[in-house]
Every structure is written in structure tokens, then in C-alpha cells.
């Protein structure tokens, strides 16, 4: 399935691997922080509503 990369296998797979790993980390961290902040804001709004 993977094309024959010859003597450049490490160069090419290293480049693609590093790129995909960094993009995946960026996406995951973005989603995690987004969910954390959203949850914290909802809890704060709920608490303030309850306390008047």
C-alpha cells in the first residue's frame, strides 16, 4: 500500500509522521481546552443564577 520510497523512507515518513503528530496534538488540545472552558462557564453561570 505504501509507495516505494527507496532510500528516502526515513525522510518522507519522518516528515509526514511529525506533521500528522503535531497536527493531531494541536487538534486534541484545542478540543480539550474548549470543552473544559465551556463546562467551567456553564457551571459558573448556573451557580450565579442559583445565588441570584
Amino acid at each position: 500500500m505504501i509507495p516505494d520510497l527507496g532510500k528516502y523512507t526515513v525522510t518522507i515518513l519522518g516528515s509526514w509522521g511529525a506533521t500528522l503528530a503535531l497536527l493531531a496534538a494541536l487538534i486534541v488540545l484545542t478540543l480539550i481546552r474548549g470543552a473544559q472552558v465551556k463546562r467551567a462557564l456553564e457551571a459558573q453561570e448556573k451557580r450565579m443564577k442559583k445565588n441570584g
Binding site: 527507496g6 516528515s15 511529525a18 506533521t19 453561570e45
Partner: protein, 242 residues
């Protein structure tokens, strides 16, 4: 209707919430085929051999690294001139994405440079200006974290963004300005005489569009998070004062 309406956080949250699924869908529809086409279905290049496949991650990342800083410059100027909070938060949200893109460009460039130029790194004008751009991204993010007052942080990071723009421009045009160094000139010209062969250029354009849409998706998500975070801090402060 004015474009400044979107500087209103409520309006921005409504519009971005509606836009996000569409932009995400467009990202998947361009990025996945662009990368698959580039990796699996492009022939070996005469000059670069199989390493030409690195172009599909290196060039889109490098293109975005520069253009994200330009976007940050525009939004910082909007903040400095018109004091719209959403624009300052959009610049803040874009910085980590730009930093990652610059890092990808540096890593893939070093990996590609070793077999092509016989070295991982050279103090070539484009490579050096890219490294400085990376340091500016780190400095910009650190400055946001270091200052407690968000308006002061937005002011100072806005000024830093103006200064860093010199290096963003240098990164783009270094190969032309100095006409020396290892890095080659244009890969992306719209002129078919100048740019690389169509068999490589077409999947490359698709990958660049995919990377660009991924940036927009992440930017919308992160700006929404920054707006929520700002509201959370305001509510916490109000509660403490009560």
C-alpha cells in the same frame, strides 16, 4: 449590515457556531484527498526523487506559518485602532496554530534538507528568518500569558505582532531579497511556466486549501474558547466583588 457586527462576541458566537460544521466538512473534503493524492499517487520527481512527497506537508505548513502571522497583524491592528475585543482574541487564538505550522515547516525542512543539501540546517536567509518567526510566535504566546490585564496584554502583543511582521515578510521573500542560500525560489506561482509540474502542483494546491481550511476550523474553535474564557473570568470577578 457591517462587518463590524461580527466584532460583537454574541454575534460572533452565533455565526461561528453555524459556520463550524460547514468549514469542518470542507476541511475534510480537501485535506484528506489532497494528502492522499500527494502521498500515494504522485510520481517520483527527476530532481528530488521520492522526497518530492515532503512538499505536500512542508509547503502548506510554511505558507500558513507566514499567512497566519499576517492575519494576526490585521486583527491586532483592528484591536489597536478600533478596540474590538474579538479581533484581539482571534489573534491570540491563531498564535499556537501558527507556531505549530512554523515548527512543522522547520522540522520537515530539516528532514528534507539533509538528503537534498547534505545538511539538516544552514544559516540561509529563508531558514534563519523562519527560525526567528518561530521565536516570535513563542514570544507572542508567552507575552499573552505573562500579563494579567487582558487589554494591556492585547496592546503589547499587538505591538509585538507589528515588529514580528518584518520577519514574516522576510520569511516569504528572503530567497528573492538576498538571491543566495540553499532554499529555492517560488514553488507556488500561478504562472504555469514558473511553478512545478502540474502533476505535483494540483495535489499541492488541494493540500494548501485543506491546511487553510483546517486553520479556519481551529481558529473558530479557539476564538470561541477565548471568548468563553474571557466571560468566565468576568463572571468570577463579579462574584468575588459581590
Amino acid at each position: 449590515m457591517s462587518i463590524w457586527e461580527y466584532a460583537n462576541p454574541v454575534k460572533f458566537m452565533q455565526t461561528s457556531g453555524w459556520l463550524l460544521p460547514w468549514v469542518f466538512g470542507a476541511t475534510v473534503l480537501t485535506l484528506v484527498p489532497g494528502l492522499v493524492w500527494g502521498f500515494f499517487f504522485t510520481p517520483l520527481a527527476e530532481e528530488f526523487g521520492a522526497t518530492v512527497k515532503v512538499i505536500y506537508v512542508h509547503v502548506p505548513a510554511a505558507t500558513l506559518a507566514i499567512n497566519i502571522w499576517v492575519m494576526m497583524l490585521v486583527t491586532s491592528l483592528i484591536w489597536l485602532i478600533r478596540r474590538h475585543h474579538v479581533s484581539a482574541l482571534a489573534a491570540k487564538a491563531a498564535a499556537p496554530i501558527g507556531m505549530v505550522m512554523t515548527l512543522i515547516a522547520l522540522i520537515t525542512g530539516a528532514l528534507w534538507g539533509q538528503p537534498m543539501w547534505g545538511t539538516w540546517w544552514e544559516w540561509d536567509p529563508r531558514l534563519t528568518s523562519f527560525l526567528i518567526l518561530f521565536l516570535f510566535y513563542l514570544g507572542y504566546m508567552a507575552l499573552w500569558e505573562a500579563i494579567e490585564n487582558p487589554d494591556t496584554a492585547a496592546d503589547l502583543t499587538g505591538v509585538l505582532c507589528l515588529v514580528g511582521s518584518v520577519f514574516a515578510v522576510l520569511s516569504r521573500y528572503a530567497a528573492i531579497f538576498w538571491n543566495q542560500g540553499l532554499h529555492q525560489g517560488s514553488t507556488l506561482s500561478l504562472d504555469s511556466e514558473e511553478h512545478i509540474s502540474d502533476v505535483y502542483w494540483q495535489p499541492l494546491v488541494l493540500s494548501i486549501v485543506g491546511f487553510g481550511l483546517l486553520f479556519v476550523t481551529l481558529l473558530l474553535l479557539r476564538t470561541r474558547t477565548e471568548i468563553r474564557s474571557r466571560r468566565l473570568k468576568a463572571l468570577e470577578q463579579r462574584e468575588r466583588m459581590a
